[in-house]
Amino acid sequence: MTVTSDLGNEWQLTPPLSTRLRGMFGATVKAAKRDIVLGVSISLLLLGLFLAVFGPTLARTDYERTDPVNRMLPPSAEHWFGTDNWGRDVFDRTIVGTRLSFLVGFSVTLISTVIGVAIALVISYFRILDAIMMRFVDGFLAFPTILLALALISLIGPSIGNVIIALSITATAGKIRLVRGAVLSLRESTYVEAARAVGVPVPRILMLHVLPNIVSIIIVQATFTLASAILAEASLSFLGAGVPEYVPSWGNIIATGQGYIQVGFHISFFPGLFLTVTVLAVVLIGDSIRDHLDPKLRGRLKTTTH
């Protein structure tokens, strides 16, 4: 990408996108080979993505079909994770549930990151807007995530879209506060001051001088949003306030098993294991990215995820 600098010179800023992507891919593979935990986490996340895309195709039975004769069966060669109270195959429902978890997780992460970063960049340059917006953010952050999401969903009704909306609203507030803080401290840096001194317009300063320098914070925070959103969706569904009950979601399947704890341990155990492993993989990847991108960030940032 060639860019005309703010002083009028032409600069070759970065190699073309394809080279950069290949470089990123190579660097990731290299890091994963050196760090076994990272390698395993990335493999598990990729497996999860694969199941999210192909889960319904891989299911060996119709995961909606009830089979009362074969209800509450323990795990066996035919039903790897057993069957539930309606005789539905728990393995099939669990891998189909992967899609919903990933859909909610990635949607919430994408929506809250894009909107949060955009708002934070804009308000950090307008004092009055900043004062008003931050009061809203403080207000939203005073509620625990799940409680606010529960209340929102009770108002707008349980559906996949509404779960995404409710979790995005709560996640965006956290993003705004984090990015705004980073932008405000960058604004005092010499190179931003220099850019302002030569008369660079504000939008250009934000896009070319500020944004590239907060990308690492945004990426690391995004992994924690992903982990929290996947957990939050499962918690909401478990409470019966997430996606509708008939949708195979990990939280819904665990709730089913909860009612049959004496005889149906397998119903809740397996989806819970999938959920834990997924969240663990995302958290570990986030930790690793943080350590690679910016050693100074170690041990910080975390306080904003709860």
């Binding site: 809203f136 625990p144 409680l147 409470l239 306030a241």
Partner: protein, 313 residues
């Protein structure tokens, strides 16, 4: 110090007002006509109109919100749609289980978190340190409701050490009360302490690199004294922040654990209210929880100034 405390209190007031505006607006713009919910299915339009007139639902939005705030200041949280009783009256019996759970979890998770975090920092780089930190990451990733399910299955269903469900109030005796609360307390404490442990470790490691720690060691202070007297206090600030933040996490955890363990506390009350769409209760509980958390943040802020007197200025 008093000036600092007064200043912190003043800063929290706009947050409380904002929380009130958000809570009231959410329910106001939400679907569902409160008059219709109160009147039931067979209400005629005249009855609905009468209810609206009577309870003031037809007044302009700012007036209704002002009225709601004014009642709130007098400690009136409104009336439940479902049971038609005062919400303050409904909340009172629910306080004990939640407060008891909260107190036990905060004490236990702080003790476990700080001690394991210090242990890991002391043995930094060792196998013990690595194992403790693996546990801490696991604690972050494990969903509380699933861990609760596993512990009920193991300790209540299979081993029979604890009742599957069945909360006993303190009035039944302290020991039966603690016994009935053991599993929920453990589940929440383990998860909350994972976070505290991680932050304690990294804060301690940071402080241990400081010059004055080297000085303390050079003058011959024992390793124990270096840890407790020289290193712990400066690292207490991030730890206090995390304990404050984990209390917000507990509010979430309690909604789930109270539901699973059938503890008749505030979290359970919220879930019931959501199932019944009892909006005044949802509104009241959101408000109560947010105010409690703002209060916790206020206490943490004041603690900062106590730990590090420089913050006051």
């Amino acid at each position: 110090m008093w000036r600092y405390i007064a200043q912190r209190i003043l800063v929290s007031i706009p947050v409380v007002i904002m929380v009130g505006i958000i809570t009231f607006t959410l329910v106001y713009v939400g679907p569902g006509d409160p008059a219709a919910i109160i009147a039931g299915d067979e209400a005629t339009p005249e009855i609905l109109e009468a209810i609206r007139e009577d309870l003031g639902f037809n007044r302009p939005f700012p007036v209704q919100m002002g009225d709601w705030f004014w009642k709130l200041l007098q400690g009136d949280l409104g009336t439940s749609y479902f049971s038609k009783r005062e919400i303050t009256e409904l909340i009172t019996p629910r306080l004990q289980p939640t407060l008891s759970l909260g107190f036990q979890v905060v004490v236990l998770s702080t003790l476990i978190g700080i001690s394991t975090g210090m242990l890991a920092a002391w043995k930094a780089g060792s196998r013990l340190d690595r194992n403790l930190m693996i546990l801490a990451v696991l604690g972050f990733a494990t969903p509380g409701f699933w861990l609760a399910f596993l512990t009920i299955w193991l300790f209540a269903v299979n081993l029979g050490w604890f009742p599957v469900i069945g909360y006993k109030p303190i009035q039944d005796g302290l020991i039966p009360h603690l016994h009935s609360m053991f599993l929920p307390v453990m589940v929440n404490s383990i998860l909350a302490s994972a976070f505290i442990s991680r932050i304690t470790r990294s804060a301690m490691l940071e402080v241990l690199r400081e010059d004055y720690i080297r000085t303390a060691r050079a003058k011959g202070a024992s390793e124990f004294s270096v840890f407790i007297r020289h290193a712990f206090r400066p690292s207490a600030i991030p730890v206090a922040t995390v304990i404050g933040a984990s209390i917000a996490g507990l509010a979430t955890g309690f909604v789930l654990t109270e539901t699973i363990f059938a503890i008749p506390g505030l979290g359970r009350m919220l879930v019931d209210a959501i199932v019944r769409r009892d909006y005044p209760i949802i509104q009241a509980l959101l408000m109560v929880v947010a105010i409690v958390l703002i209060g916790v943040n206020l206490i943490v802020d004041i603690l900062y100034a106590y730990i590090d007197p420089r913050i006051r200025y």
